[in-house]
Amino acid sequence: MSAGPTAQALAPSVVTVRDLTMCYGRKVIHEHLDLELHQGEILAIVGGSGSGKTTLLREMALLQQPSSGTLQVLGQEVAGLDEAQILHLQRRIGVLFQNGALFGGLNVLENIGAPLGEHTAMSNTLIKEIACLKLALVGLKPLDGLLYPSQLSGGMRKRVALARAIALDPELLFLDEPTSGLDPLSADAFDELVLDLKATLDPTIVLVTHDMDTLWRVADRVVLLGDGRLIAEGSMRDLARSQDPAVVRFFHSPRGRAAQASA
């Protein structure tokens, strides 16, 4: 299912990370990272807890400023942008937050319609219809649109959050732990949904995950972070064959083996 390394090398770069360092005071989250994200691929960032995965994702999604290094997103150098330009760039980016981050005071349809209402001058009716369409795209029923976030189950919450993330048809989609907190069946279904969306809307996707099954099924390429550095990079198959002890430790845990066996 992977497009293969040659095809990716030809695709233009969507995000380019060069020598990126992030530290809070003396505490270094990651340093001297180099990373390239190609158009149309699904890149997974993995690593133990506290390895700086989410921070890296937040930097790429323009939610956090790196301490040093250069970052290019959708063809623009981020460091030189003013606030208005960053906001403009962010409209082309969708983010699925780990816990959904749905607005508690709005119902599902209003949540999905929020970015549409904010950034376009479309009529309310059309916005509601598009929101309903996105709801159908993530596999929910129109009537679910009237529920409030507090009434949703974990799986539904993730789906609604995904529907909101794709409200503006972003070119670049970030998924922070998309399957965390879901039961195995819902997690499988969510992986399927991500692949479906990739096939139909074709965004470039970056996902942070711990879920070995997701890595095997969804990711084209995997980046392993540890101790603030990039330890390994490649397709799951490459990493599974790697002899590097850090990689072996991460992917050859009992869980990693089980996922590989079923993939």
């Binding site: 549409l116 376009t120 001058a121 598009i130 309903c132 129109p142 009237l146 503006l168």
Partner: protein
């Protein structure tokens, strides 16, 4: 940046010539607003309509939906519709939208209840809230009795913390406001009293009004805004983050841990603050009388001693614990009423402050009536 130029070439276009509709440009969600109003204005000729779509360079789900919606509308109006030249990617997008089975009438609508139904629902809700509050007070009483029987379970540390938070830290603002209130009363009253040559009675005016009514009331109102709201927000946030459930799961009753210490601390703190407010208010009046009416401090204080009886002082002070109980009860109760989200915390906090101030004033009026009946 030349963005406006860019936008012009990106814009989504639509043109109707006779029976042929030509679509072009970028049919993406940012460009749809104009197109939507243009389509709404368009008058379609009778008979078949032919769509030329090869000018559409890009199309996202929003654009595809607008097109699909248009096609559905025309078909419903019994036009024969033909489409031509849609590029493969755009055609894929249109197919995706069609495959969801989406239609304008699928959008669910919030059903609005009729007036009578809404009235009924609101009454029921209000009644159930009232019963909820009564149940809460009952629960609180039961927990309190339990603690009295087992004094080991009283949480002195929490009480001390709450006392510092509600009492010690409020001294500054309570003192300042009471002082200013004393000044205002002395100033307004002094102007009138001087006309009758009764300047000295300013001490009666300030002393009695502060001690009997204003000091307890203003203190209670400040504490309701400052501490009652904090109680609601704290318990509400703990409710959202499941900390309250965590307490329960550890076998610690939330009542014992979160409510009783706050209640007890406030019942202690509010009378103390009221005494302080009494003093500061009378001091404010004293300063103003000296400035405006030339009454010496010693004369003023002597007069206060005559005018303000111990009974009036106790009447004012006696109301404070009642106000404290009201504020703590409403604050904690509203905290437990939070469900779900941050927004709910905000709403409950507002309700808590409004209700406690309202209740304090109503109860104060009740006290006045009762005291005058009893001739105190």
């Amino acid at each position: 940046m030349g963005e406006s130029n860019n936008n012009a070439s990106l814009a989504a276009c639509f043109e109707l010539n006779g029976n042929t509709a030509t679509c072009s440009g970028h049919w993406t969600v940012h460009q749809l607003a104009q197109l939507e109003s243009q389509l709404a204005r368009t008058r379609w000729p009778a008979g078949p309509v032919r769509f030329e779509l090869n000018g559409i360079q890009r199309m996202d789900t929003g654009g595809a939906w607008l097109l699909q919606r248009l096609l559905m509308k025309l078909e419903r109006e019994r036009h024969t519709v033909e489409t031509h030249g849609l590029r493969p990617e755009a055609a894929g997008m249109l197919q995706l939208v069609q495959s969801t089975g989406m239609a304008p009438d699928v959008v669910p609508r919030q059903t609005r209840a009729g007036m009578l139904e809404a009235l009924g629902r609101r009454s029921l809700k209000t009644a159930s809230r009232g019963i909820g509050l009564l149940a809460f007070i009952g629960e609180m009483g039961a927990a309190w009795l339990r603690q009295i029987r087992h004094p080991r379970h009283i949480r002195w540390r929490e009480i001390a913390l709450a006392l510092g938070e509600a009492g010690h830290k409020a001294i500054g603002i309570v003192g300042l406001l009471a002082f200013l209130l004393g000044i205002v009363i002395a100033y307004q009253g002094g102007v009138q009293l001087r006309q009758y040559g009764a300047s000295l009675f300013i001490a009666d005016l300030v002393g009695l009004s502060m001690v009997r009514e204003l000091a307890p009331m203003i203190t209670a109102i400040i504490v309701a805004g400052r501490t009652g709201s904090a109680y609601t927000a704290q318990i509400g946030t703990m409710q959202v983050t499941e900390e309250v459930d965590a307490l329960r799961s550890m076998g610690i009753p939330p009542m014992d841990m979160l409510v009783l210490p706050k209640l007890l601390a406030l019942v202690i703190a509010l009378p103390l603050l009221t005494v302080f407010a009494d003093i500061m208010g009378i001091l404010g009046g004293m300063v103003m009388s000296a400035v405006q009416l030339d009454i010496a401090f010693s004369t003023y204080i002597e007069r206060i001693g005559v005018a303000v009886s111990v009974k009036s002082y106790l009447v004012g002070l006696g109301k404070a614990p009642v106000f404290a109980a009201i504020i703590a009860t409403i604050g904690c109760y509203q905290g437990f009423q939070v469900v779900g989200s941050a927004e709910s915390v905000g709403r409950r906090t507002t309700i808590s402050v409004v209700h406690s101030i309202l209740a304090v004033i109503v109860v104060d009026a009740g006290f006045s009536v009762a005291f005058s009946r009893m001739g105190i």
